[in-house]
């Protein structure tokens, strides 16, 4: 009995199903998913950053070339997106640390607070960059 097992739904599948069938998951799951995605983006960016730095430091000509490439609007749009991603990752990371230190805090309001902090600081950063 019980040896025939149904393959368990993966987290992502369950997440998408619930999200698009009108019975969404709690905000904790959403910020966790975003935390994971932004973490992947930041890890990818770290490699890219080292690559660009390495190619820029080969000499004067290459430095000018890379700097001109970084001035293009597409790169600027990506940089702005990176600011938002890093801000959200930081704010939610602080929320997680707070929850570890003071478990009785309300995680839902903390999550909304992290989103508000992200939006305010992101808007400031965007207006500063453009």
């Amino acid at each position: 009995m019980g040896d025939v097992t149904r393959s368990r739904k993966k987290v992502t599948q369950r997440f998408l199903e619930r999200t698009f069938r009108g019975r969404p998951m709690g905000i904790g799951s959403y910020v966790w998913m975003f935390q994971r995605l932004t973490g992947l983006v930041l890890a990818f960016y770290l490699g890219l950053h080292l690559l660009v730095l390495g190619s820029a430091l080969k000499g004067g000509a290459s430095f000018n070339q890379v700097m001109a490439m970084l001035e293009t609007p597409w790169i600027k749009v990506l940089e702005t997106a990176l600011v938002w991603v890093a801000l959200f990752h930081t704010a939610n990371g602080i929320r997680l640390v707070l929850l570890d230190l003071v478990p009785s805090l309300n995680q839902r309001s903390l999550a909304y607070g992290a989103l508000v902090v992200t939006i305010v600081l992101g808007a400031m950063g965007t207006s500063f960059m453009w």
Binding site: M1, G2, D3, T5, R6, R23, G28, W32, L99, D100
Partner: protein, 254 residues
């Protein structure tokens, strides 16, 4: 199986519901089947299943008290674990067994590993150097907060395993994180005045650091408890113990 439902003469509507059927003697894989149920006001999912049973559709399911006390009838309703006696019937509902456990038949799952794990975790107050109680021995020195926690939280858990099913980090019995239910029970025995066992080390070995703070267990709990808060409290004790930092997590628990 007895049916408590009065005969349905004038239904408000005819609802279509889908149920994941699986018969180990006939089927190799579970399959969806749709049924038509006449809906009367305040009809719950368990009543719909009993109606189908009366019509000759012998769908296996567990139910006992029908008033949110026993926790037998937990199943995934529209993808979310809930008590079938606590959920009102809706049109187009999709009902499936809890997906964390192996299926025995239809909506009945094999949860026999949970009490085994309770036994392995020794979820009873363990004390070594205490004389047996007599008639004259004074009452236990229990802290007021402990009594409050027992009354408000630990005693209210009905062990329906909804939190285990909702937890994305506790996929099966092989996953390193045991699940919110075990953490709640560990916190329960930890607050017992007689308990002397190192429950914090046990929680670390049961993979408490794998919790991702998604609070899905608190969202699905039919008794409105918050196992995630208890997990966070336990973990805040775990991270203050330097001897638990390295190499204590994959050991045999007990």
């Amino acid at each position: 199986m007895t049916c408590y439902l009065p005969p349905i003469d004038k239904p408000d509507a005819i609802y279509n519901i889908q149920i994941l059927r699986f018969d180990p003697e006939k089927d190799r894989y579970p399959h969806w089947e749709s049924y038509q149920v006449p809906f009367v006001r305040t009809m719950t999912v368990i009543e719909a299943l009993e109606y189908l049973w009366d019509q000759g559709e012998y769908i296996a399911f567990r139910s006992n008290c029908r008033e949110f006390t026993c926790g037998s009838c937990a199943m995934e309703i529209n993808g979310k674990p809930a008590l079938a006696c606590d959920t009102l019937l809706e049109d187009g509902m999709r009902i499936e067994p809890l997906s964390r456990f192996p299926v025995i038949k239809d909506l009945v799952v094999d949860t026999s590993t949970v009490p085994e794990r309770f036994k392995a975790l020794k979820l009873w107050p363990e004390c070594k150097h205490r004389e047996p109680a007599t008639k004259d021995s004074p009452p236990l020195p229990a802290a007021k907060s402990a009594i409050e926690h027992y009354r408000e939280t630990y005693s209210r858990c009905i062990e329906c395993y909804s939190c285990l099913d909702a937890c994305p980090q506790s996929d099966s019995d092989e996953s390193p994180y045991f699940g919110p239910l075990y953490m709640l029970q560990l916190a329960r025995v930890m607050e017992h005045p007689l308990d002397e066992k190192d429950r914090v080390a046990q929680a670390a070995e049961a993979g408490i650091s794998h919790c991702i703070n998604c609070y899905e267990c608190a969202n699905v709990c039919p008794m409105n408890l918050s196992p995630a808060t208890i997990v966070n409290e336990l973990r805040s004790k775990t991270i203050r113990r330097l001897d638990l930092l390295f190499g204590r997590r994959r050991k045999e628990v007990g």
